[in-house]
Amino acid sequence: MELVLSVSIGVLVASGVWLTLRPRTFQVIIGLCLLSYGVNLFIFAMGRLVEGAAPIMPKGGFVDPDVYADPVPQALVLTAIVISFATTALFLVVIMASRGLTGTDHVDGSERNP
């Protein structure tokens, strides 16, 4: 499981970085999405990978924390997903506005060789 997760984080981040450096706004936004997926998986992995364990402990008495998953990274990743989703949506609006105002989808608002 560790190998699959680390490879998928690596692939997501690498393709995200490459796409973000491309000159078209659509490529940039897809790159940012992939990057945020990679980051979210990374946050999740920081709570250690455990199989079949709930992140919620029963009430009352002492419970052994070893048989439960760490709930904090799960809460963090949820917040991160919401925030990155919202900001990406906002970015999409700005991209549309830029396309409408400049007539091109180049990130600088004009083609290099007109």
Binding site: I43, F91, S98
Partner: protein
């Protein structure tokens, strides 16, 4: 009167509530919205003053607010210490004049100016107060989300272009922030800053590189915000494209980046951090000095006041960052307190310059002709973006007033006597020379001294050139609404007041810097404060 316990959370709640109330009214009720906004900013100023008085008087000057009354290192805490109190004051001193200025005409140029402005302030205040890393991320995002909207306020091709770059860069910075936070949690199991500081010293040799990697990722996010070279290329474009009141209030945002660098650098890598002590200080010094040079060249190269001022933001940030780096390396509190004083003065002056750029630019001819050429060179359309209409009473003698305000701000930023900038620069230079004299073969301090003086000279040359062209060589009286000049004069008045109050202010900042280099009080307070139970009232 709010109970003193709950006053700490007020700087976050006031803008949140007033922003939310404003959303209930549509765009036709502008006057009412502006009134709510001004009341909220005024209230924030009062609270900031009350908090700073509390931080000044109380012995250890660290007070805690436990959100939801959870025990301290486990729940999220808000921490008020001298540094956060002074940053809150700076933020509210900037916000009130900027909003007042926007009331002349700018708030009509787009939708939801008032609410976005308040949410920006909420994010800024929250970032200053929080004692938890992930909470810091959330407040950063609140601030940034509002700033995206504000930067695009008024739209136009230049703003949308600059906004596109600004948003993309800040989204990337947010990813770096998240990676750093997650890594820190993975290594130490805590996100509370004070708890983290106690754990950094006792890390195993295998974990230490990981925490350093996390710190590098985090500082990537903060230094993009603070605009350290080479992460600063977005700033002059974004700030000069923004509407003047927006640019003025944005000048606090780079200081949020600087604040987090000071806070986390001093907490995590202070003298008590064992093998990690002073980590990253060299990078801050070198990067800060490079930022000063870049900003200096930028000021000399630009011809438009708002672009010049954007570059002055870089000079100010670079100065601060190199001071922080030197303070972190040598634990020199005096330089840090001088740096904080300079930051306070230069931020206010820079905000005033952003506000001044537009009224002076309204004069016909002179610089306007030159500007058209510049705009062409940058590939911008000279768009008419100023809404026409009733702007309130217009005052006579506009050029004289604008000139006085301009000159005062330039003298503050360049660090010429008799204003506050000089006091700040002197308070940085004197300890720098002292330390440099004891370290014969270390050039960091000498380089800092030389660059600080040179950057003042460059600022002076560029600004005087611009001032002569647009204020003296051009006899037109621009139409100047009372509200606009009143808000600029409020900022200038604050600067003059700061000059006269230099002695108590420096005494306060000396103790701030002392507390930052000896962070045991902060950590102790956060780690030992017990929940209050049900008897909070």
């Amino acid at each position: 009167m709010i109970s003193p316990v709950h006053m700490i959370v007020a700087p976050i709640l006031i803008p949140l509530v007033s922003g939310a109330i404003m959303l209930l009214y549509d765009e036709r009720r502008r006057r009412l919205k502006q009134g709510i906004g001004l009341a909220s900013c005024g209230l924030q100023l009062v609270v900031a003053i009350a908090l700073i008085l509390r931080a000044k008087d109380s012995g250890d000057a660290v007070s805690l607010y436990l959100l939801g009354d959870w025990a301290s290192p486990y729940g999220i805490v808000l921490v008020l210490d001298r540094l956060s109190a002074v940053m809150l004051l700076l933020g509210s001193l900037l916000a009130l004049p900027s909003l007042l200025y926007a009331g002349a005409r700018w708030h009509r140029n787009g939708q939801h100016f008032g609410p976005l402005f308040q949410f920006l302030l909420m994010g800024v205040n929250g970032a200053f107060l929080t004692g938890d890393l992930f909470n810091l991320f959330v407040f950063f995002e609140v601030m940034l989300a509002a700033s995206y909207g504000l930067l695009l306020h008024g739209t136009g091709r230049a703003r949308v272009g600059a906004g596109l770059h600004y948003i993309a860069i800040n989204l990337l910075a947010a990813m770096l922030f998240l990676l750093g936070v997650a890594l820190i949690y993975g290594v130490t199991g805590t996100l509370n800053m004070a708890d983290l500081a106690t754990r950094v010293a006792n890390l195993s040799a295998a974990d230490r590189p990981l925490i350093h990697a996390a710190a590098v990722l985090l500082s990537g996010a903060f230094l993009i915000k603070a605009a350290m070279w080479p992460l600063c290329f977005w700033l002059p474009n974004a700030y000069s494209a923004a509407a003047p009141p927006v640019a003025a209030v944005f000048s606090i945002m780079t200081k949020v980046g600087v604040y987090t660098v000071i806070r986390l650098g001093m907490l995590l890598f202070g003298p008590a951090a064992g093998a990690s002590s002073g980590f990253g200080a060299e990078v801050l010094v070198v990067g800060g000095l490079a930022t000063i040079v870049f900003g200096m060249v930028g000021v000399l190269a630009s011809q438009d006041l708002s672009r010049m001022t954007g570059n002055l933001v870089l000079v100010s940030s670079g100065t601060l960052l190199s001071v922080v780096g030197l303070a972190l390396e040598y634990q020199s509190a005096p330089m840090l307190s001088g740096g904080l004083y300079y930051m306070f003065a230069s931020t206010l002056a820079i905000a005033a310059l952003f506000l001044l750029a537009e009224p002076i630019g309204r004069k016909e001819g002179g610089i306007a002709g030159l500007l058209a050429v510049t705009a062409e060179a940058y590939g911008l359309d000279p768009e008419d973006e100023v809404a026409t209409g009733d702007v309130g009473p217009v005052i006579p003698g506009a050029t004289t007033l604008l000139g006085i305000a301009f000159l005062t701000c330039v003298m503050v930023v360049a660090g010429l006597p008799p204003f506050a900038g000089f006091v700040g620069k002197l308070a940085m230079l004197a300890p720098a020379v002292d330390v440099a004299a004891t370290l014969p073969f270390v050039w960091g301090h000498w380089l800092f001294v030389a660059l600080l003086i040179l950057s003042g000279l460059a600022t002076m040359i560029a600004m005087v050139r611009w001032g002569i062209q647009s204020l003296w060589a051009n006899a037109d009286e621009p139409p100047l609404p009372m509200v606009e000049i009143a808000s600029v004069m409020a900022l200038v008045g604050t600067l003059v007041l700061l000059t006269f109050a230099a002695e108590p202010a420096m005494r306060y900042l000396d103790r701030t810097a002392e507390a930052l280099t000896q962070n045991s009080v902060y950590i102790g307070k956060v780690m030992t404060t017990a929940p209050t139970g049900t008897g909070t009232e």
